[in-house]
């Protein structure tokens, strides 16, 4: 399998800091994979994202993106392959209209106008925002704003999208909008997704969840494996899935429950079996 991102013994220490923000992190992410990185505030999540697109340069170790080692010569090629959606949609708008905003990154690359128009229209259609192309970005809802931000990124046809807490400022409806969009984009094209998140639904959408703690990878597994950690998840920077919370509420009342993770449907079925055998 081709690796989209290879991180080899990466360490990073901020200038003037005594403690490394990332300490000897090694991680491979396959092309087309969706990896969620969780961890409490200050665990090194955002530092990792910034090392992947060269916003920060590693103190030691090597990052390889789409087969290209991250070096000064390659940095612009790599940034063309990696798009980041940040937390606050209001901080990333530059255009006077939605379409202008989506075109901004393409203009920066000096793309011919005809091709740009096609790309912008296509990107807005993919995020289901075509009807808003001449609107003012400031007047959109949070979920719509993030969809426009995502359109600005997919217009550049990246191989990798990094969601840096991209849903944390949205209301529940907006969060769902963005997650469904990312799912749909992945079905249409081979897109690698790296999401840095505290959101349980976003983590559940991933193929693999990685827990970062104190700048190091503490654990890695499928969402089900990670969610089985139950109440301690909150210390690791993630919410406890409701099914786990209920399971533990029942255990504390003396009910024997399975140790492995049950999603809501699984738990409903398990409880129904208990009910039927009463």
């Amino acid at each position: 399998m081709t690796e989209a991102i290879q991180i080899d013994h990466l360490s990073y220490t901020y200038p003037d800091a005594t403690h490394p923000a990332l300490a000897d992190v090694s991680l491979d992410i396959a092309q087309g994979e969706w990896v969620a990185i969780i961890g409490h505030n200050g665990s090194g999540k955002s530092t990792l994202a910034k090392n992947i697109n060269g916003l920060l340069a590693p103190t030691s170790g090597q990052v390889t993106v789409a087969g290209l080692p991250l070096t000064e010569e390659n940095i612009w090629d790599i940034r063309a392959k990696v798009g980041i959606v940040f937390q606050n949609p209001d901080n990333q708008f530059v255009g006077a209209t939605v379409a202008d905003d989506v075109a901004f990154g393409l203009e920066n690359r000096g793309m011919p106008r005809d091709e740009m128009i096609v790309r912008v229209d296509d990107a807005l259609e993919q995020v289901n925002m075509s009807a808003f192309s001449s609107r003012e970005p400031a007047r959109l809802s949070g979920g719509q704003k993030q969809r426009v931000a995502i359109a600005g990124i997919i217009a550049q046809r990246p191989d990798i999208i990094i969601l840096d807490e991209a849903t944390s400022m949205l209301d529940p409806a907006g969060r769902l909008e963005v997650l469904q969009l990312i799912q749909a984009l992945r079905e249409r094209q081979s897109l690698t997704v790296l999401s840095i998140t505290h959101d349980i639904d976003e983590a559940a959408s991933a193929d693999r969840v990685i827990i970062l703690n104190d700048g190091a990878i503490k654990e890695s597994g499928t969402p089900a494996e990670i969610f089985a950690r139950g109440p301690e998840l909150i210390e690791l920077g993630l919410d406890v899935p409701f099914a786990e919370r209920l399971k533990h509420a029942l255990i504390s009342r003396g009910v024997n429950m399975p140790a492995h993770y049950l999603d809501e449907e699984g738990l409903v079925n398990y409880l129904w079996t208990l009910h039927s055998t009463m």
Binding site: Q87, G237, V255, N256, W272
Partner: protein
């Protein structure tokens, strides 16, 4: 101090072609010492309602009575300062309002504006920083060297330093991580219980409504379409869905269980309530 809305309507940019209705005929009372949650989807009028709680906006028609002050369209903007002291507002992403060189100075800024001496303001800063659960060492630090959650606590300490009777919170946990959210909500509960503060909370988190509020206002298109206790509000899941509002997670789970054949009365709002009602239906404890 009660806050009473009597047939309050508010029109944005009244008298211009851009006029838009913000509130329509809202009548309700936010009682002294209550913990009131305001819910409604984006654009439902929640923020417009909030800004009437300390006369940042004045009704286009109707009146808002805040303690002994009556605010109407005709109310003069002078002498509103005592009101602003009594009703403390914590806006969304309150940490964006920090500006001073040290945490102590930032917290002291409000009380000094309201006439406190330097010594009084400094003493308040020290007291409030502890109240929001931060160590006293941060007083001499720059607020900008703190983490996001700590910065937000400093901003809240600045509002508390004005010693308000009502604390208005507009999505106070947005953007915090789960542990930060939990700590922040626990802190508000403590302030409500130990300081006797009236809390008004705008939120999208239905679990917070179920866990903390004793009264709920539901807004839609500028109108107050329902009010009652969390139990009353969440008793009708179909109605909530029709208004694009969510359910507490325990209530949503109870619905899934009811579809199988479980029975709940009343509908549980928290995981503990759900577990208590489940226990007799799965054969009680020590089930194999």
């Amino acid at each position: 101090m009660d806050i009473t809305f009597d047939h309050v309507s508010f029109t944005y940019q009244a008298g211009t072609p851009f006029a838009g209705e913000g509130l329509r005929d809202v009548s309700t009372t936010i009682s002294d010492h209550s913990y009131t949650a305001i819910i409604g989807h984006t654009g439902s009028g929640k923020s417009t309602l909030l800004q009437h709680l300390n006369a940042l906006l004045k009704p286009t028609s109707g009146s808002v009575t805040i303690g002994d002050r009556v605010i109407t369209a005709e109310t003069n903007n002078k002498n509103l300062k005592p009101l602003r002291q009594k009703v403390g507002m914590v806006f969304q992403f309150a940490e964006n309002q920090l500006f001073e060189q040290t945490v102590a100075k930032d917290i002291a800024f409000g009380p000094k504006n309201f006439g406190a001496s330097d010594d009084e303001a400094a003493a308040l800063a020290k007291q409030m920083v502890t109240l929001v659960g931060l160590p006293e060492e941060v007083l001499t630090q720059s607020p900008f060297d703190l983490s996001g959650g700590q910065m937000r606590r400093v901003a809240i300490a600045g509002v508390l330093a004005m010693q308000p009777q009502v604390l208005v919170l507009d999505e106070p946990t947005a953007g915090l991580d789960p542990a930060g959210r939990r700590d922040m909500m626990t802190m508000f509960e403590r302030l409500h219980e130990t300081q006797g503060l009236t809390i008004v909370l705008v939120t999208h988190q239905m679990d917070d409504v179920a866990d903390f509020a004793d009264h709920v206002l539901v807004m839609d298109q500028g109108a107050l379409i329902k009010e009652g206790s969390p139990r009353e509000i969440f008793a009708d899941p179909d109605w909530l869905r029709a208004h694009q509002l969510g359910l507490p997670k325990a209530t949503a789970m109870a619905e899934q269980l009811m579809a199988k054949g479980f029975r709940f009365d009343p509908l549980p709002l928290t995981s503990d309530e759900l577990a208590d009602q489940l226990l007799p239906q799965i054969g009680g404890a020590h089930h194999e």
